[in-house]
């Protein structure tokens, strides 16, 4: 495995001077203080950095979940930061798969139905069963979130994200709550999707070991990308030592 070749590497995301300020009452929090970065088609990027450094904020903006305060994001030549509500919705529906830090499953729907929630509105989805099989949850399909462990809930969330065969997969701490064995299953599912479909994948993690599976690693600090590292050699998830 190697970094995608430059001649075939199309830019998927291109962020320039991205800033984000949260205002709560009199308090201003500068979550992003000018981020410049590019993600290429088919690459796996890992975001590392201390808590509060702006990783989730960036991911949310890339995914069209939140609006930037300044700067631009170009998605495949179109300015994402200029999208209106409707285009953003369509963008999320067609192009993006999310895995959230806090799973965000609908508690009144079973695992299968939580996945179906997305496949029903996608163009070329997998069957929910297929997606759940990919994360090794075939025997838990009819359980409600409350009947699943944290890791299992996270895998349902991943199945939900990959079921629509998205162009980009944005994962906020997908293995945060998982032990290594399950974590490996999850990561393998993500890399498999990446290889099969060429899905551009961004993964936020606190587990520095996971950086080994990425093409590139972005180090965050205080709302900025402090440094970028290119892995000369990627490891398969099962070869990563946790």
């Amino acid at each position: 495995m190697s970094i995608p070749q430059t001649d075939e590497s199309t830019e998927v995301f291109q962020a320039t001077g991205l800033t984000k300020v949260y205002r709560t009452g009199d308090v201003e929090v500068h979550a992003l203080r000018g981020v410049d970065m590019t993600l290429y088609e088919g690459e796996v990027a890992v975001f590392l950095g201390p808590s509060g450094s702006g990783k989730s904020t960036l991911l949310n903006i890339l995914g069209g979940l939140d609006a930037a305060s300044g700067g631009r994001v170009i998605f495949r030549g179109e300015e994402l930061t200029g999208f209106d509500e409707r285009s953003l919705t369509l963008y999320r529906r067609r192009n993006v798969g999310f895995v959230f830090q806090f799973y965000n499953l609908i508690s009144s729907l079973t695992a299968r139905e939580n996945v179906a929630l997305v496949t029903e509105i996608s163009d070329h989805p997998m069957r929910p069963e297929e997606a759940l099989a990919l994360v090794d949850l075939s025997d838990r399909m009819d359980h409600f979130p409350a009947q699943l462990s944290g890791g299992e809930q996270q895998r349902v969330a991943i199945a939900r994200a990959i079921a629509k065969r998205p162009e980009v997969l944005l994962c906020d701490e997908p293995t945060g709550a998982l032990d290594s064995k399950v974590g490996i299953v999850v990561l393998e599912a993500l890399t498999a999707i990446n290889e099969e479909l060429g899905t551009t994948t961004a993964i936020i993690t606190h587990n520095a070991a996971i950086r080994e599976i990425a093409h590139r690693v972005f180090y965050f600090a205080d709302g900025r990308i402090a440094s970028t590292h290119i892995n000369q050699r990627r490891l398969k998830p099962r070869d990563v030592s946790w």
């Binding site: 999310f98 009144s108 729907l109 139905e113 179906a116």
Partner: protein
Amino acid sequence: MKALDKKLLRDLMSMWAQALAVALVVAAGVATLILAVGAYRSLDETRAAYYERYRFAHVFAVATRAPRGLMKRVLELPGVAAAEARITKNALLDIDRFTQPATGLVISLPSNGVPTLNRLYIRSGRLPQPGETTAVAINEDFAAAHDFRPGSQFKALLGGRKRTLTVVGTVLSPEFIYSVGPGDFVPDDSRFGILWMAEKAVEAAYNLENAFNSVSLSLRRDASQEDVISRLDALLERYGGRGAYDRDDQFSHAFLDSELDQLSAMARVLPPIFLVVTAFLINMVLTRLIALEREEIGLFKALGYGRLAVASHYLKLVMVIAAAGIVIGFGLGTWFGDLLTRLYGNFFHFPFLVFQRNVDVYVISAIVASTSAGLGTVRAVRSAINLPPAVAMQPPAPAVYRRLWSRGAVLLRHVSQLTIMVFRHLMRWPLRAATTTLGIALAIAVLVTSLFPVGSVNFMVDFTFFQSDRQDASITFASETADRVVQNVGRLPGVMVVEQFRTVSTKMRLRHNERRVSIVGRPAGTYLTGDMSQAPDLPPRPTGIDLSRLLNVKQEPLAMPETGLVLTEKLALLLKARRGDLVEVEFLESSRRTVRVPVTEIFQSYFGLSAFMNIRALNDLLDEGAVVTGVHIAIDERFEEVLYGIIKNTPALTAIALRKASLVKFRETMAQNIVFMTGVYSTLGIIIAFGVAYNSARIQLSERARELASLRVLGFTRAEVARILTTELAIVTIIAVPIGWILGRGFAWILIQGFESELYRVPLVIERSTYAQSALIVIGAVVASALIVRRRVNRLDLIEVLKTRE
């Protein structure tokens, strides 16, 4: 089924109690409109159909004695379609096993045996044949009160002779849908009956051969009622005509009208109040319910669902609840409406009922209910949908609380942290606390509005029967009698106090305003029977124990002025008369003079329009000696039976009204109508109260579940955690109670305005017990809801809190 729809179903199932509570509130609002309008329209339609089929006359007139031959000229009057002459007389009745004397209104049937106007609906038996002299058909209510059926007999004093009459049939008449005996306020079927007899028999009994004293006319559609009335008056004048009148002055019709007006007032006033209240409540409840779904809404957006898809999902959820409520409301409203229609139909003895089902009320109530539900949803969904999904999906940022009364902080040291939490929470979300308060206050207000009429009626009863008209009985004489008779009545056994009166029919005019009204002449004081030695034509000595008193608005007795008119407030209002105004009075009896009399006093009365004058001044105006038409008496109960026995056999008496019996009847009538009515409305009010209380408590729990569970995790006991919720509810409820009372009084005032008619005025009297009851019912509902919610606090999922963020 779509995953979203599955979610909807499961959500509905898991929140069924709350959904049901909201649905019931909707149902209550919808039901009031349907029941009130339905009952009103059904009864109105029934009456119209009854009048039509049984040819209820348009114009009526009473005279002393007119020759039959006059009828030809009556029929020739322009605009008259049909006319019927007859004889009507009051008669005292003597009924076996019924100690009290009763009064009958004897009406002659035309010589061919069947009336053409005011036709009779025969319930049982038949009408008397033209030749029968003792056969009588009686109104069904009277028959029912004494268990009379064809073949039964009773005695009557007809024209001074006692006769035994035989019932041959029971009937209903459009003329006596509501029948009240002379001197009475309310119907008492046991003491007042209508007796239809063959013309020959009545003519003979009253020496009115070939004559009549009453005439009914039906008019052609294009006729001018006023013109016919004045022409008829001119024809009858020579024969002692007392002034023709139209349906508006016909007692049964007027009473029915005022009763229907009240129903229509209820239909106009209460349902809008209920609907507005329910609209507000569903809006409030659903707004907060949906606000709780903020994170899910964020997620749907993140997953690529459009605004419309998200909004319609929640609209569906809400519409299912609203639809359930609307359907329940349709059912309840139709059922209660029919029940009310039957109750009134029964009360009025309509021969049939026409049920009106109007699509419009169903449509309107459904639209109002679903619109308010929909608006609440859209508003709530919009505020969540406008957030970027990333923000919506996070729990709301920890609220910025202010320090409570920074200077009072010393005080707070003695208050537990939990109590501080409660206060900070209330003050942090003042709008939320305010809407909950308003919701509970509205529930109380609705209850006050539905419960208060009982208090008003109690007040009317007390005012009328205990403060103003305190006589035990009122006796009417067969003819105008000299003052001296008063002495004779005073000597009867058991009569403690006598107070004479004289009633004269008049037309009163002031500027453009005219009313037919009787003037009652009364003395400035009452004789004690012990004082009978005193010549009655001497100025009466005020004894300070007047039987019938005039009271002002403050319930203080008014001294009877020596001269001038004393008008009820209502009559003064209708004539636009003030103290000192000169009113033109046209006497329709005896001298038939027209005079101008000043208004000297205005008094308070809740029944009818009446005018009083000093009896001596009245007699002077009529240029007659000391004439009386009746007396009010106070009776020593020990001699009651003896006295009644004598009265039944006194030919000079034609009618007797018994106050105590009236009071009992009045209470019964009210018990039937008002209690049922308030029962229905307060049931709906209770449903609303519970719906609000339960939802407020339940939502409060949902809004704070995470916080409360965290407290449990920190080691607070269930009771302590539950106390936070209950303290909050208690504070909100305590603030809501006085607000609810004030709002309720306002609603009641609006309702009272609609109740007013010429026959009735309902005072706005809200008893303390009404305030107490409505507050207690709502507090009860709040406590019950708090208990239910408390059980949920006990089941708070602590693990869930730990599993997820924060």
